[in-house]
């Protein structure tokens, strides 16, 4: 299986990464190399094996539904690249 440059572009878009041409070329080579390394896992028969997502099995962890302290609006906005009137400001999303 070979990963093409256009697949790299598609994956980059899924990951919201705007890559330079040079990066696309490099990543195409790199992804092919590392994915080949992953083929090794296909040697193992795992048809009867359950997947592990966490080493310590935890089911739903509940807490009491009560109000506790949290960050103030000012604190939450303290690192914002752009903020106004208690909101984060981003480029226009919806056409008016």
């Amino acid at each position: 299986m070979k990963i093409t440059k256009s697949e790299v572009e598609h994956v980059a878009w899924l990951a919201r990464l705007e890559l330079s041409e040079e990066e696309k070329e490099k990543l195409t080579v790199h992804l092919n190399g590392i994915m080949a390394h992953f083929e090794k896992l296909q040697q193992l028969d795992t048809s009867e094996v359950e997947p592990t997502s966490h080493s310590i099995p935890v089911q739903n962890v509940y807490r009491e539904d009560k109000v506790s302290t949290c960050l103030s609006v000012d604190e939450a906005l303290s690192n914002a690249p752009d903020a106004r009137d208690g909101y984060f400001v981003v480029p226009q999303v919806v056409e008016i």
Partner: protein, 498 residues
């Protein structure tokens, strides 16, 4: 006191438990300790470059408070002890960059739980340590700012990703440090820098405020000059935290009670696969000698085979980037961190922000993870890796039915040269071949120094059953009490080296 000349009697060269005795006896104040450490940093950090941020002012303030506590007779084991914090752990009001351009200006509005616990214990945050960007790497060369150097040989890497934390402790620029370990990032740099590094069982320590890399693997742990100090630091940071639902509600023992110089009757397993895969002869020899020493002290040891180990590395390199690609989706220039200028629409802003903000290793891993999780490939890669993860865990469960601990090298080699492996990502990843299985299984492991080669430390990894940090501490402590590798200091002097 002269911070540049060095010597065993200098306060900066002491362990936390030694300093604690001096503080209790009022031979030195927390303020003086902190000043001495800051002088030491000023003298040697230009060479080592362990710190991204040195928090001199707030450290001295905290030291004054610690002295007040001590005056009231409240001197806990960490009161007045300067600690370096890996720059992936949030510190309220103190720059936390993850060594990434995307978080270059990020000042957390809250403390990680481990930081809160350190503060409650009277410890002093002395600075934020360098690392591989977002903890992705094995040499600290992936820092967006600068590489850290190995105090034992400045042309070598300190390991990674917690390379700044390890180098700071080894160079006596901190008494203790916190690191984080996703695939070996505490143990491998501890090994390269000749210190102790302990990765606790997954769930033992709260991850609240630890910037997430791979959430099912990440764990915060102590880095220190000896085993006693790691036990002391683990005592403070361990325990269930309501802010981290994956932290486990299980009794936290007093880990210092495990500091027992006795391994009689203990069963040590030696997994032969962890002595293969590129492990250098001098490393394997030193670790085997270490195991034999434990044998002479009354432990029984036997080789075992864990063939699944050779599948651990590819398994990790699917799971970790997959989780990372999801975790790092939050860096979009909206709420914090870098935002690309002049983007006409929001999607372009996201993509451009991420292009400008992430370094190449981080981008590679996001791409691998996104690919592995994308439609059509999920079953072949991510699900398959999760199933192999089950097999890795089973292999450890089986081994621990027969053995109390398993011992292997921490890393296949001693510290390699700066620039040596940066262009060869697969070769670089082999540096973690012995440590990665531990994260997949979620078990605890400690790295201690068991020898030297080319003037560089060799690390021995002791792995234990889940939530049995006590036994690995006991084995490590016994080894330490019967050797003096941990007392050696790097030949580092102040000023610029020729």
């Amino acid at each position: 006191m002269n911070a540049t000349t060095g010597g065993a009697s200098e306060p900066y060269s002491l362990t936390a438990h030694e300093l604690h005795e001096h503080l209790v006896a009022r031979k030195i104040s927390a303020f003086e300790v902190t000043q001495v450490l800051l002088e030491r940093i000023a003298a040697v950090d230009e060479q080592v470059k362990a710190y991204i941020t040195v928090t001199a002012e707030s450290a001295l303030d905290a030291a004054r408070e610690a002295d007040e506590r001590i005056a009231r007779g409240e001197c806990g084991p960490l009161t007045g002890i300067p600690v370096a914090i890996k720059d992936v752990i949030c510190t309220k009001g103190i720059l936390t960059t993850c060594a990434s351009k995307i978080l270059r200006n990020y000042i957390p509005p809250y403390d990680a739980t481990v930081i809160q616990r350190l503060k409650d214990a009277g410890a002093i945050i002395i600075g934020k340590a360098n690392m591989d960007e977002f903890a992705m790497g094995s040499s600290t060369e992936n820092s967006a700012f600068f590489p850290t150097r190995n105090p034992w040989n400045l042309s070598r890497v300190p390991g990674g990703s917690s390379g700044g934390s390890a180098a700071a402790v080894a160079a006596d620029e901190a008494i203790l440090a916190l690191g984080s370990d996703t695939g070996g990032s505490i143990r491998q740099p501890a090994s390269f820098c000749g210190i102790v590094g302990l990765k606790p069982t997954y769930g033992r320590v709260s991850r609240y405020g630890l910037v997430a890399f791979a959430s099912s693997l990440d764990q915060i742990g102590p880095m220190s000059k000896d085993v006693t100090d790691s036990a002391i630091l683990l005592n403070v940071i361990a325990g269930k935290d309501p802010m981290d639902s994956t932290s486990v509600d299980i009794a936290v023992p007093d880990f210092t009670k495990a500091l027992v110089n006795d391994v009689k009757g203990l069963k040590i397993g030696v997994p032969k696969e962890l002595f293969a895969q590129g492990v250098r002869a001098e490393v394997a020899d030193a670790v085997m000698k270490g195991i034999e020493l434990l044998g002479n002290l009354g432990a029984e040891f036997k080789e075992l085979s864990m063939p699944i180990m050779e599948y651990a590395l590819p398994t990790y390199y699917i799971i970790a980037p997959s989780e990372a690609s999801s975790n790092l989706a939050r860096y979009d220039g909206v709420r914090y961190g870098h935002r690309a200028a002049r983007s006409s629409d929001v999607l372009t802003m996201f993509a451009r922000t991420r292009e400008e903000g992430f370094g190449s290793e981080v981008k590679q891993r996001i791409m691998i993870g996104t690919y592995a999780l994308s439609a059509g490939y999920y079953d072949a890669y991510y699900l398959k890796a999760q199933k192999v993860r089950t097999l890795v865990r089973r292999a450890f469960d089986d081994a621990f039915r027969e053995f109390d601990v398993l011992i292997s090298p921490t890393s296949p080699t001693v510290a390699f040269g700066i620039g040596e492996k940066i262009e060869d990502p697969l070769e670089m990843k082999l540096a973690d071949v012995c440590t990665i299985p531990v994260n997949l299984a979620g078990i605890p492991a400690i790295s201690i120094t068991c020898g030297f080669s080319e003037g560089l430390p060799i690390g021995m990894q002791i792995m234990g059953r889940p939530f049995d940090e006590e036994t690995i501490i006991r084995v490590a402590y016994t080894f330490e009490q019967n050797t003096d590798f941990h007392r050696r200091k790097p030949p580092l002097t102040g000023g610029v080296q020729a």
